[in-house]
Symmetry: D2
Subunit: 284 residues, 4 copies
């Protein structure tokens, strides 16, 4: 696979925007290898993800980006350009449950997840061995003993130190402070173990069991200040029946959790997600 440039943009929808962008690219020798776009008629916004072969681009990507800035200004674009070879730094927060972490680390090792994972942070020691097996340093930051504020200070120092660009809460089970959340806007992904907005908050499997639902689900979303209300990235479900105990539901639900979290992280590090309002666009 040749290296590609990836442009992700959003702007008010108006005539000529596609022509302007594609002509800009064509004039610089860019060969599009993948494109996906979206027009939201209701909010009159245009969204684009464009990927082009860097091999025969007639200028450097830095120069390309500089030049693009003025076009972007003209159309009022929010945008960014990255290389497909870029590997963002991702930190994973965990507690005791390892099914999501195991899946993320295995896929990272095989190369399926194109990112760096400089650290795992756990508020229990349970997942140290697993992290270290995959060569990822594990940092134990307890949340009980000295309180959440102290823990968050330590966590944020670690994130800064490792230049972390995406925080993944892999069944972390702790609510982070508004300040912490605000520091990673659209760059902190959580998995909630229900089909949101059903069973927002604590113990969704218990409440699913009580309610007698026939499907259980899981949701990955960006974290915002309001619990479980952030932009949804992915959802999936598992069929259950009256035969399933609470323990069965927790076990089967775990498969949906890891699936939706892994997909969300993959799409984020591939620069496939745009957030607008409280929704996401996931480009194919």
């Amino acid at each position: 696979m040749a290296e590609t440039g990836i442009l992700l943009l959003q702007c008010p929808d108006r005539k000529g925007v596609v022509a302007a962008v594609t002509t800009f690219l064509y004039e610089r020798g860019g060969n599009i290898v993948h494109a996906d776009e979206h027009q939201d008629q209701q909010v009159k916004q245009y969204f684009l993800r464009l990927e082009w072969d860097l091999t025969d681009l007639s200028c450097s990507l830095a120069r390309f980006t500089d030049d693009f800035a003025s076009l972007a200004r003209e159309f009022g674009m929010a945008w960014n350009v990255t290389r497909s070879s870029a590997r963002p730094n991702v930190a994973i927060f965990v507690s005791k449950s390892g099914h999501c972490l195991a899946d993320l680390l295995f896929r990272h090792q095989t190369g399926e997840l194109p990112c760096r994972i400089p650290l795992v942070i756990g508020n229990h020691e349970d997942l140290r061995r697993l992290s270290e097996f995959y060569g990822i340093p594990f940092h134990f930051v307890p949340t009980d003993a000295e309180g959440k504020a102290t823990a968050e200070a330590t966590q944020r120092e670690l994130l800064t130190e490792h230049a972390v660009e995406l925080v993944v809460l892999a069944r972390y089970m702790q609510v982070l402070s508004d300040q912490f959340v605000a520091a990673y806007p659209n760059r902190m992904i959580n998995v909630h173990h229900s089909f949101l907005p059903a069973f927002i908050g604590a113990r969704p499997y218990h409440r699913s069991y009580e309610r007698g639902v026939k499907l259980i689900g899981a949701t990955s979303h960006y974290v915002t200040k309001v619990l479980d209300e952030g932009p949804i990235i992915e959802q999936d479900i598992v069929r259950i029946s009256h035969r399933d105990t609470l323990a069965d539901m927790i076990r089967k639900g775990g498969d949906a959790e890891r699936a939706v979290l892994t997909r969300a992280v993959l799409w984020h590090v591939q620069n496939r997600i745009l957030v607008y309002g409280n929704k996401t666009i996931v480009f194919s």
Copy 2:
């Protein structure tokens, strides 16, 4: 297919109940052709659906039922016995939207839905033609003009007149009074156009659209006094994306609605459903 007897029962779980029931059947020459049972360890209840060939039963089914009553008393069973050839009377309530009705009537006509449908009741005239094409008398009972109380009086008279045993709300869009609901306990099935308990109440598709969910769903349930809180019979989902408009969601969701409603009605008229607490057991 030979005609079968169907026993549906629930009782406190205790040793010997299965042996007692199956021995009772064996002594009367009954050959089991299908059985499904469930033990709920948490509430210590036993549930059974038993189907046996009536051909070589050594006594009449009436006699069988009389005899079974004393065994049932001994074990504290709630139970009933029906014939597979029985055809319960089902009334369908509709408003303007015909996708659920069309599916129910088509399957009724092919023989897939083993019930009688003596009438369709609509609060608009829109679905008269469809009903009558399938040979089902359509009764127009407006809900606006003279008020809900008058309408319900007329509706209940019609149900009584036709000895209706199951009321199906096929996107009826009206909330029935507590008195009406109370008259059909576990015998009134509604379809809600969301994945309950998400989006309880009005306009679930609009709210799904606003929330930016990635799956939409539908739920069929028995109607109870509390809106959208009755025992869930079946749920299903359809995957959507940022490309789907509200209109797309309504259209795609309609497929899930008719699927879960049709399955619920089928299972009910096949005597496959037991309700306990606020949950259902759907026997295979």
Copy 3:
């Protein structure tokens, strides 16, 4: 919804094609409301579906199309332009089984399927009543009595007379001659009642039952000379278990059949499908 123009094109992938097309459109005042494209790196082909508001197009669509022809020549495009208001003429062929037909006609009536259906052709009389209820003339063309050749001659006359642009085989159960098939290249859609290429040919449910599969499926595809080998448009599956009899499989499979056939017809009449090699691209 404003009326739109729809451009569907395929050409060798090369730099500048997107810029050329979108600039062409921009110069004529076209405002893109939906676009989906695809680059197949392996065969080096580019595929595009473009939809733009006709309201403020600065020329007639006829003129637009004429002008586009020279651009198309330059890039070696296979292409066509249609209006979203166009309603292609669709003929439906049936035998005795009505579940696919009922679904197509119901959706046609509600406006969900944007096409004209000037006729239904059946080799049995069974579905006349259903067709006529929906206002579609039914033509009985028996295939047994006078042989297939005579039947096909009659059928082709009917298709010509009604200027039919798409033939839908809705569980028609007869193999059409090569000549007939050749007259409707990529314009004849069949539904096969298996997950192709599993169970090609006759009696797929019987063979699924014998094989003991845990999922059954259905496939809609364009018809080519080789039986069940044409370009696949859509597939879906239904989960089954050891409890399902052959009759259950036929019933449950029917739901998958109508789902994949209806989607295929919808996508075709919305100009969403491009065929290349033996594959389809289905634009979103």
Copy 4:
């Protein structure tokens, strides 16, 4: 959870078999906690899985089993009795691909898979580290150098030495000899990376890509002498589109592979599977 006894049986269907078995159990103080049964009307066979609390069984399980033998003889049963606490010895065969192995070992470690895994056998060294991380001895048995016959001799010695009761081929990629297969009848599980019987044999993803299917699948089955023709245990699918490259299909299909293999192994070690003819019954 209290320890349970598990009876798995198959016999010609005749009156009184359920009564006989449940009365036998009742007379020995057994309290049924789970039961699932099946009557196949076509082959006139009866199938049962019964689970009862051992706490208050009035005799030892050994005695129970001895006594049951004569009842079993009377009804011509094929049967076995196990304890829920039993942990069968499972060997996993691998090649280079680790996604199935990683899932099996992770779930084994969490206790979700109730078996012992005394060894992993690989014909490449790639998965030694993963196996040993989970505490499972890894045996490298090359298949190239000295030929398959030598390899099989070594493998079979290892299996005998560790009293292996179930062989799991977790993307092993080698065809085993008839003799080997015959030594583990209904005790060797393979995962095939297609929706069988579609794409039997080599390179199913390549052929799926060529054929242009819209769903890809995976199948777990017991191994028999005829390649990919053994009794199917579980199947699942993943939706794909024209955008998916061969590499995407391999990646996405891998998720279905591990899902169907893990479920098959789980059900086997929980004594949930009965094979008859070339089909399986999977008890709930």
